[in-house]
């Protein structure tokens, strides 16, 4: 009887001891990992701060102005470029025939890439111009309305009965009815390549 109890306790004590050491080392390993992670986080935070500063430096208005002069030559938006009421916007002329539909797509004012928003005047950071709508109250720049009209044109069935007056239906076979763009970016890419 005595022997059994003693054995039991002995086993228990050694088991507890091993378990304790096991847990202790586990905890140490975790602590080390935590320390490493925290140090890495701090280092990353420092790097982010440096990169933020660098970004601010590289996008300072002076720099953007110089870049604009060199690559884009955008000029400040003129009063006459701003239409503020719907009545000011001229109606889209009715396309004479569906055969022109594809030509129109190609001829439509090529929308500049979204980064080069037309309403960021010369010498103004396009970054901030992109983040904060520059002319929040004015109507969307022509680019957007042109784009909105675009899918409609692309989607239109080749026959387009409501437009077709006398135009031969077969002539539409040639104009590329490009596969539908998945995104706005794709669409712009398509338009750019189709030119």
């Amino acid at each position: 009887m005595i022997r059994v109890a003693t054995l039991f306790w002995l086993v228990l004590v050694s088991a507890t001891g091993f378990a304790m050491f096991g847990v202790k080392y586990q905890v140490q390993a975790l602590e080390d990992e935590l320390g490493r992670t925290k140090r890495a986080t701090t280092a990353e935070e420092h790097e982010i701060r440096v990169l933020d500063a660098e970004w601010a430096y590289l996008t300072r208005p002076e720099m953007l102005d110089a870049m604009n002069r060199r690559f884009l030559s955008l000029s400040p938006i003129a009063t006459k470029q701003l239409h503020t009421t719907a009545a000011d916007i001229p109606m889209r002329p009715v396309p004479p025939a569906p055969v022109e539909a594809a030509a129109m797509v190609a001829a439509a004012e090529p929308p500049p890439p979204p980064g080069a928003s037309p309403n960021s005047p010369e010498g103004v950071p396009t970054l901030t111009a992109a983040l904060i709508p520059v002319t929040a109250t004015s109507e969307p720049p022509p680019t957007q309305s042109a784009l909105r009209a675009m899918p409609a044109l692309l989607e239109r069935p080749a026959s387009a009965p409501q437009l077709g007056k006398a135009a031969p239906v077969k002539a539409v076979a040639k104009p590329a009815t490009p596969h539908r763009a998945k995104s706005l970016d794709d669409l712009i890419a398509q338009i750019m390549t189709s030119r």
Binding site: E31, G35, T42, T59, P61, P76, T84, V124, A129, V134
Partner: protein, 590 residues
Amino acid sequence: MVAVQPFADNPCRPRHFKPPPCAPVVPEGPARQALETCRSRLFLTSLLFACVFAAVALRIVEVVVLEGGSAQSHMPRFRIPAPPAPARADIVDRNGKLLATTLDTPSVYATPKQILDPADATRKLVKAFPSLKSGDVYAKLTSGKSFVYIKRRLTPREQYEVNQLGIPGVQFQHEERRVYPDGTLTAHVVGYTGIDNSGFAGIERGLDDTLKDRRDPLQLSLDLRIQYVLREELQRVIDDFTAKGAAGLIMDVNTGEVLAMVSLPDFDPNQPGASDPDHPALSFADRMFNRDTLGVYELGSIFKIFTVAMALDYGTSTLASTYDASHPINIGRFTIGDYHGKHRVLSVPEILMYSSNIGAAKMAMAAGGQKQREFLSRLGLLKTPKIEVAEIGSPHYPGKWRDVNVMTIAFGHGISVTPLSFASAAAALVNGGVLRQATLVRQPPGHAPQGQQVLSPKTSEQMRKLMRLVVEHGTGTMAAAPGYVVGGKTGTADKVSGRHYADRKLLSSFVGVFPINDPKYLVLTMVDEPHPNKQSHGYATAGWTVAPATSRTVQRIAPLLGVEPVDESSPEIQRALTVDSLQGKKIEAY
């Protein structure tokens, strides 16, 4: 010693020993006494142990449960570096663009005693930092000291390179440094800090404690894009008219937020002490001087808007009142004449349009000095303005308000104020009569700080019409920006030099508000000592210098600010801006 019944009460008895059913009685005597002593000693000892174990147990509970296990960090092995809080909050503009930030710029130092091969270390270090001289570095490394700086303020790339060298005994000391990515652009507003990162100028000094305490970036009301436009236009005026300096500020008239504040010449806050490579002759003090908030100037004719507003608000004049401006006024040793002289009787709108000194002086005299002083005081022009930057100038004005002072102050001489105070007061004049303190800290959208009603909305409306008239038909026609309905007032003052006015030294200024039919923004520009050029036909007055600059600025910033252009000839605008007393009469007829 005692042999009787050794087990019955012996605490050292084997555990499973069962005492006999009847404990034998220990007879009285020395044996029993010894047992008693033993028992009490045992009791005391066990009590002591119990206390100690209880203390240990309590401490464990305290450490593990009550302190939530935080005690672990006392162990050096587990010390986890707390993320170093940025010593000073960043400063950003109203769109979140970084204006000032704190970066970790380690300094590299050496412990010469630990350097094994100074010659090799020198060679490597000089290769990494070509600016260092190998002789100096070698001398430092062999000096036998325990600490020498090799180079302070490393860039991240330099730090990486030194790490790559892997020289034992060369280490980094972490230091923080304020960096201003936009350089000179916001120099006067943001200011700069000293080597220990305490604010020395601008917001850095004015809000030093706030910046030290807070962690989130401090958002200013400044808009970097507008600041850039204003600075560029002012620089153009300086270049075109070979002027000494210029200042300008753009303010939201309905909130008092300053969107741009430029004072030229300026400095690079990243190296405030360095001289400007383009203009090495400019002194440090001149470039550090904030003309917007610290400089006080006799602003000249733009002050006439206050004279007219005062007369209209007190009712001492109406828009239909007329004053004879055909002859100069002689008072004491002064002669008050007109620059754009018409030599005839002028109505109140004409006095402002043609900027008649004689008319303004007579108008002020009609109201009287007391009213004039009270009105200027109400507009906050007689006290030191308040704003977040540290550099603030106090106005200069006569202690005794004599008649001659009344007359000169009517057209902006004999009183010096900061352009900042002027802008706040002018904003109150057009925004319906509410004076708000100018601020450089962004206000929550849609929230206008509490203001003080300083003049009647009716006077304010009349002033808007009159200021529009100046731009439409008066001295400020070159400030017109088609579509943005600019209203304003020109001012060309002779600068005081010593005790006299220097005739050839001018201070031209223009205050413009757009759109004047529904005032949103005020643009105040000022140029110090402009010289006439060929394009300006020999003029260096406000109408030829800062008025065109205002026009260009407005046309560039209005789309950024979301101000819609309107048709200036539309009936609504015309109706809103027609001066009643002139209705039906042709302006040109005057």
